[in-house]
């Protein structure tokens, strides 16, 4: 017998990769984004970052985490709820904890696939690794916790149709102000200030400093990411509805 959580995670990964739109969102778009924005001089590069690819690669990794943890997960959880999938699985030996653990394991596995692809493409485009690996690992874990927490919160509390629209809207907003393609310094002052309170910019900064020399990590990036990484899952646990 395979471990129920491993079996559930494997099933989740297969379903995600088989669903064209989910694979497009979590794998294809981050890679294409890296290829396009890493090759063409369309956007400014923040001061202190050695080259364009280093900045775009960090943005693509953060984008991938956001797509897998928040967008894909919130939609998957919301529709699973509406179809009674979570309820049915809760009455198997997998149990409710196992359902959540399976989903988290699937998100982590998908992110590792993304990461391997993005680092490979980044290296081919001229990425020069010069950051702090420890910051990268901590940032990657915190970002995964924050975005997956938001995904579970949205998917576990709202109607599926609403989640579909809302998570896509959030994805676009955070893509715009999350320092993934446009550096915070290039945004108007009030927008940049607001962006520092949202989950994406802090995570992007930590990942950027993890893979590239970019000066010292600003304190706000740590606080912002930590608050979302702890707060969103706690809120999801508190408010989650199974059916």
């Amino acid at each position: 017998m395979a471990h129920p959580v491993a079996a559930q995670a494997r099933s989740e990964i297969k379903m995600t990769l088989k669903q064209g739109e989910a694979a497009l969102l979590t794998i294809v778009i981050p890679v294409i984004g890296l290829l396009v924005f890493g090759s063409v001089k369309l956007l400014p590069v923040p001061a202190g970052v050695p080259n364009r690819v280093n900045f775009v690669l960090a943005g693509a990794i953060a984008f991938g985490i956001m797509a897998s943890g928040m967008v894909s997960q919130s939609i998957s959880v919301a529709f699973d709820r509406s179809y009674g999938v979570l309820k049915r699985l809760g009455a198997t030996p997998l149990g409710r904890k196992g359902v959540v653990m399976g989903k988290l394991a699937a998100v982590a596995a998908l992110e590792l696939i993304q990461l391997a692809l993005l680092l490979g493409v980044g290296a081919a485009l001229g990425w020069t690794p010069s950051g702090n690996p420890l910051i990268f690992i901590v940032g990657w874990v915190l970002a995964t916790s924050a975005f997956t927490g938001i995904g579970m919160l949205l998917g576990g509390t709202l109607r599926a149709e609403l989640v579909l629209g809302l998570s896509t809207l959030l994805w676009l907003v955070l893509l715009g102000v999350g320092s993934m393609v446009v550096p915070l310094g290039s945004l108007p002052g009030p927008v940049a200030l607001l962006a520092k309170l949202l989950p994406a910019a802090g995570a992007s900064y930590l990942i950027l400093h993890g893979i590239s020399a970019a000066g010292a990590v600003p304190l706000w990036a740590w606080i912002d990411t930590l608050v979302w990484a702890v707060g969103a899952p706690l809120l999801a646990i508190r408010l989650f509805k199974w059916s």
Partner: protein, 306 residues
């Protein structure tokens, strides 16, 4: 699967389920033994789902107690789930998951699952093994859900509308499977609205409405306690039902083209009066019709609505 029979597998004692001020289940008590099939019947909103979901561990009782295989389901759902099979009305399978993937996934949750191939052939799912759940017919979906409910060799089984949307051949397959599972010692609770089918599958019936028990007993007991046989006849002649009803002293209703039902049991006095009343008419058939689970259900639930 379990082999011991006649042990009490499910015990529900003075169960109450409340949602705020609304009482969905009101002091309901019953037991289900191993090797027994109980039908839980009632109109929509009667409290069936709340009762079943309490036994499945989804809902915490507001008062009273529920024990399934000696466990308190709400507290021990994870442990109980190893010995419990569940078939939900809403399905609970992702629309894009194939039959094969669903069987493989659910098999992986249990220590000693039933061979998936055996279930596929038993429930005639071979043709659709690679088909996604959303593309299955209603009957195929029900058969897959039943397969997933029994893949872990449960000792108790909860089936919500197992034959809804199933074709006649599929109904026979499900009926035979339920019978085999009962013979294997499973305690089975079925709910649904297909009363003719349920009549053929169950040992005992519990009819509830407004969360309360209306009737409880074996199908035969209910038929002898609540069922009244009636007389049906056919004639091509045109009848004045009001005049006939007054003459016989019982209601006569038209139930089809040229077919009528006399709402009383077939006593010699009634048959004699009926023969006298119809002596000038050409009667093509006259027969006594035994009570059915459906007629009992309708008389009880219809009465409770008034």
């Amino acid at each position: 699967m379990g082999s011991s029979t006649n042990e009490c597998a499910i015990r529900v004692d003075e169960l109450e389920v409340r949602y705020g001020a609304f009482c969905a289940v009101d002091r309901l008590s019953f037991e289900v033994a191993s090797g027994e099939v109980l039908a839980l019947l009632g109109p929509n909103g009667a409290g069936k789902t709340s009762t079943i979901e309490t036994m499945e561990g989804y809902i915490k009782p507001s008062a009273g107690s529920v024990a399934v295989l000696g466990m308190e389901p709400f507290r021990s759902q994870a442990r109980l789930s190893r010995s419990m099979g569940v078939m939900l009305q809403e399905g609970g399978i992702p629309p894009r998951m194939t039959v094969r993937a669903a069987l493989r996934l659910y098999s992986s949750f249990y220590d000693d699952p039933v061979d998936a191939g055996e279930l596929v052939s038993q429930l005639d799912l071979g043709r659709v093994e690679k088909t996604m759940f959303r593309r299955l017919s209603g009957g195929e979906k029900q058969r897959l859900l039943l397969a997933l409910a029994i893949v872990g060799r449960p000792r108790v089984l909860f089936l919500d509308e197992p034959t809804a949307g199933v074709d006649p051949v599929g109904k026979v397959a499900i009926r035979e499977l339920v019978s085999a599972l009962r013979d294997d010692g499973l305690a089975i609770v079925i709910s649904g609205h297909e009363l003719e089918e349920i009549d053929r599958m169950v040992d005992r019936v519990l009819i509830i409405d407004h969360g309360r028990e209306l009737a409880h007993g074996s199908v035969e007991e209910l038929k002898s306690r609540y069922g009244t046989e009636c007389v049906e006849f056919s004639t091509r002649a045109s009848l004045d039902l009001q005049v006939l009803s007054t003459r016989l002293g019982v209601d006569v209703e038209k139930i089809g083209d040229g077919r009528y039902r006399v709402g009383a049991s077939a006593s010699p006095a009634l048959l004699s009066s009926l023969a006298a009343a119809l002596e000038d008419l050409e009667i093509s058939s006259i027969e006594t019709v035994a009570a059915t689970l459906e007629s009992i259900y309708l008389s009880l639930v219809g009465g409770s609505k008034e």
